[in-house]
């Protein structure tokens, strides 16, 4: 049974993926909604992404001094992956476990971490936190290589609880010190090579001689804990179930206040967080199960356009509609440059606290960058997606009214919903374009440009900022 509600499919693909052209939406919609969700939750069913193909164009994965190219290669993967949710969740963990390139300026180490996120992205919280604690990029970022038996460094011990699992207010300074002691000796085989010449990767190493084996008290439990024990104790805390659920809600459903406010401000939908947290607890932190609950819930289906697009959502989503960059193009690097200008430098978040989200993505500077980006990319008559939109409008016949033209364009751009102010302005613009005629090459070109002008105005509007 196909899904008739294309707007719902469009919504799902914007959140569980990076948006979709109308053609993609129609393809997915051949199945029932629940089936589409299952397909997305089971990336193994879809073909693997061809890494070698992009590596031939972007050598960033084999030389360490080309950070810009590794960012561009990731953007390309987001655009073209046959497994959108896998990539989306990789980005989710990157967002939550924000690790910055600037500490070592070694791009390969960032890619190594992102690749790790991809393999564990739909597994369980214990697996995920163990992998995180052993990741060289994270060990460097939060200085666990400097966390020694006789000189503990608290950085990772603090942030694994404050930022990565439980949130502030659920543990004491003593818990932090003991967590730090439990992670002593969790280091890497060799330092991450300094830029720009190192072409080898560092790996996790446990150094027995540098591990504090003595007794520790952690969150009310006492024992000779090591890092694995600390993670086990963290994962079974109700605070962890709630904190991760709220992050998933904020990432997939609707904008929450900024994370530091969470210990004080209740969730916008406490019921939804409870539902997700319950699944988390029942499945011992199985992320795939939590997401299954999320995507099939009414609160998800009813959350259309309740999120401000992140810069990555905005750039990748726009490119997917334009249908460009399905093969590597020379300007690919401008796409990752654009997300950076809009406030999101992939693999290099501003601080350990990651990016602020929702309306905080937008200020007069970044709004200007967004509008300019969308106008440029939707304005390209040579892009396949734009050609497809024009052909679809053309097939509607020549007697298309200005109102109909606006509505069709809104639909083709992702079943957008707009308010009266925007509609009035677009309608006026549409009327001024005059009649669309497609009877010869000249008139066809002229009409195509008119359609593009209208599309450009639509992607400039406020409503296009929402996913």
């Amino acid at each position: 049974m196909p899904t008739e509600d294309l707007a719902l499919v469009s919504h799902l693909l914007r959140r569980a993926g990076f948006g979709a052209s109308r053609k993609d939406v129609e393809n997915y919609a051949q199945k029932e909604y629940e089936e589409i969700v299952e397909d997305l939750l089971t990336p193994e069913k879809s073909p693997e992404y061809d890494v070698d193909f992009i590596s031939r164009y972007f050598m960033g994965t084999v030389t360490s001094d080309s950070f810009g190219q590794t960012q561009a290669a990731w953007i390309y993967r987001m655009i073209n992956t046959p497994r959108p949710l896998e990539e989306r969740m990789t980005l989710f963990w990157h967002h939550l476990f924000a690790t910055g390139w600037n500490k070592h300026e070694h791009a390969m180490t960032c890619v190594q971490q992102i690749d790790m996120f991809r393999t564990i992205c739909l597994s369980d919280m214990t697996t995920i936190l163990i992998a995180l604690s052993k990741d060289p990029n994270m060990i460097c970022w939060l200085d666990n290589s400097e966390n020694h038996k006789d000189a503990p460094n608290e950085n990772y011990g603090r942030e694994i609880m404050e930022l990565f699992s439980m949130g502030v207010g659920n543990y004491s300074e003593v818990d932090i010190k003991n967590a730090a002691r439990a992670f002593t000796g969790w280091t890497f085989t060799q330092c991450i090579p300094l830029y720009p010449f190192g072409t080898y990767l560092s790996e996790f190493e446990f150094r027995e001689d540098d591990h504090d084996y003595s007794e520790k008290t952690f969150l009310g439990e006492v024992g000779n804990f090591d890092g694995y024990d600390i993670i086990d104790i963290i994962v079974k805390q109700p605070a962890t179930a709630k904190f991760i659920s709220r992050h998933l809600y904020n990432f997939f459903v609707a904008d929450e206040p900024q994370v530091p406010a969470w210990s004080i401000q209740p969730p916008r939908d406490p019921k939804a967080i409870e539902i997700l947290a319950n699944t988390f607890i029942q499945t011992k932190g199985n992320i795939r199960e939590v997401l299954r609950t999320l995507f099939n819930s009414e609160f998800f289906k009813n959350s259309r356009f309740m999120k401000i697009k992140s810069p990555v959502d905005f750039v990748v989503g726009t490119v997917k509609i334009a249908g460009s960059h399905t093969v590597p193009q020379p300007d690919l690097i401008n796409l990752s440059g654009s997300t950076a200008l809009m406030g999101q430098t992939l693999m290099d978040p501003p601080t350990v606290e990651s990016w602020h989200t929702g309306p905080e993505w937008i200020d007069s500077g970044t709004l200007t960058d967004r509008v300019n980006f969308a106008v440029e990319h939707i304005g390209n008559l040579n892009s396949d997606g734009i050609k497809d939109i024009i052909n679809r409008i053309k097939s509607n016949g020549e007697e298309i009214s200005p109102e109909e033209l606006v509505d069709i364009c809104l639909d083709l751009l992702g079943n957008m919903e707009i308010d009266d102010t925007t509609r009035k302005s677009l309608l006026e613009f549409s009327k001024n374009l005059g009649v669309l005629i497609f009877d010869n090459t000249d008139s066809e070109l002229e009409s195509s440009e008119k359609i593009i002008n209208l599309l450009q105005m639509i992607v400039s509007c406020r409503e296009y900022q929402f996913a």
Binding site: C140, L142, D143, S145, E146, A151, N153, E154, N155, R158, E162, V168, E173, P257, P260, A261, I264, Q265, I308, A340, L341, G343, T345, P350, T351, V352, E353, H356, G358, P359, E360, I362, D363, S364, G365, T366, L367, T368, D369, V371, N372, F373, V375, E376, G379, D419, D420, T421, T422, K424, S425, L426, E428, F429, N453, Q456, M457, S460, C461, R462
Partner: protein, 378 residues
């Protein structure tokens, strides 16, 4: 209030990550300092003398020069009660002056509202860099955020003039604030409307500027050069915000911290030189701050999060010197048993800047009454 010929201007430089104040202005004769920092301590032979107890980090020579000219006030031991050492909360508290609750209104956002109550000039407050800091945010107050001054402007990708003009007209109408459209949509409307207005004003700035000062190529130098370009263009900006990141030196501090201090102090020196060359320095005061200082004891490679720290006020009208007491390193005086304490609440410095420099009533902005310093030459 201090009087200057032009309207007074405040430039804020935020050092993100927690600057190690003890290795910036060093208690060089204190034995506890050297005992606590066997690896990272600044050695007496390398340090630049400040007085008989304190010394500058060797790379802070440009700031020492400004200090020796009498233009730098060092605020020793700045902070607030019940510090919890979190970057998150630390920065939030500095931005909002609310240590106990989360609010979305920043102290400079409120200040800009007082300076320009009707919001006539959308460039009264400008932030340079990526993203708008919470300090500059206040509902209904237009603030301009610039990532690249040289390509700033809506629809600048449409090259045909007539088409661009038409598109801008539609844009303006679509972003007209409508009643009852919701908080976020409303926020977007105002932001879009302001983006149009500020682009029009800022578009003319780069063409007006010329200078003999050559800034270095790093983020803080670029930002301060942008501040100089905008300030000298005379478009009425009163509050500038800039950020310099990377101060979270838990590890390899010996390599990282001097690099940052070199970038910072050189950029500040170049900035004031530039303004003086343009005869536009007298009306400018700079505040340099960080969300916290770092732990007294080093951890072998870096320093962990601490509490009390230091700040600087810099400018021609600043009465240079030391303000407050350098926090004691004696165990009994420490915060959390291992951090520098504080002697001056950061809201005292804000109040001083607001009342005595910008001429804005401080109490409603900092949420209370705080003892003020006397750091300005009348």
């Amino acid at each position: 209030m201090t009087t200057v010929s032009a309207p007074p201007v405040l430039v804020v430089v935020q050092l993100s990550g927690g600057n190690d104040f003890m290795n910036t202005v060093v208690p060089i004769t204190d034995g506890i300092y050297h005992d606590s920092r066997p690896t990272l301590g600044v050695k007496e032979k390398d340090a630049l003398p400040l007085n008989d107890q304190l010394a500058w980090n060797p790379v802070a020579a440009p700031l020492k020069e400004l200090y020796d000219q009498g233009n730098v006030a060092i605020i020793q031991g700045i902070g607030y009660e019940n510090h919890n050492r979190s970057h998150f909360r630390g920065m939030d508290i500095w931005h909002t002056c609310e240590p106990d609750k989360i609010v979305t209104e920043g102290w400079l956002g409120k200040t800009i509202r007082e300076l320009d109550p009707s919001g006539d000039n959308v460039v009264t407050g400008i932030s340079f860099g990526k993203g708008l800091p919470r300090a500059m945010v206040s509902p209904g107050v237009p603030v301009t955020s610039v990532s690249d001054l040289d390509s700033f402007g809506v629809m600048s990708t449409i090259t045909a003039d007539q088409q661009r003009e038409e598109a801008l007209g539609v844009f303006k109408r679509m972003y007209t604030p409508a009643v009852g459209s919701g908080i976020v949509a409303d926020y977007l409307s105002h932001t879009g409307t302001n983006a149009l207005a500020s682009a029009q004003i800022l578009g003319s700035v780069p063409g007006k500027y010329s200078s003999t000062v050559e800034y270095a190529s790093n983020s803080i130098a670029k930002s301060l050069r942008d501040v100089a370009r905008v300030h000298t263009a005379g478009i009425g900006t009163r509050v500038f915000y800039t950020q310099h990141g990377g101060y979270d030196t838990h590890a390899t501090q010996l390599a990282v911290h001097p690099k940052l201090l070199t970038e910072l102090t050189t950029a500040i020196m170049d900035f004031f030189q530039d303004l003086r060359d343009h005869n536009a320095s007298e009306e400018v005061v700079m505040l340099v701050f960080s969300e916290f200082g770092r732990r007294i004891k080093d951890n072998g490679s870096g320093t962990d999060h601490g509490s009390g720290g230091g700040a600087f006020l810099i400018g021609d009208r600043v009465r240079g010197g030391l303000y407050g007491q350098y926090p004691s390193l004696e165990f009994a005086q420490l915060a959390n048993g291992e951090d520098l304490g504080y002697n001056i609440d950061f809201r005292s410095v804000y109040s001083t800047l607001l009342d005595q420099w910008l001429g804005v009533e401080a109490n409603p902005i900092v949420n209370g009454s705080y003892e003020q310093l006397k750091p300005f030459i009348e």
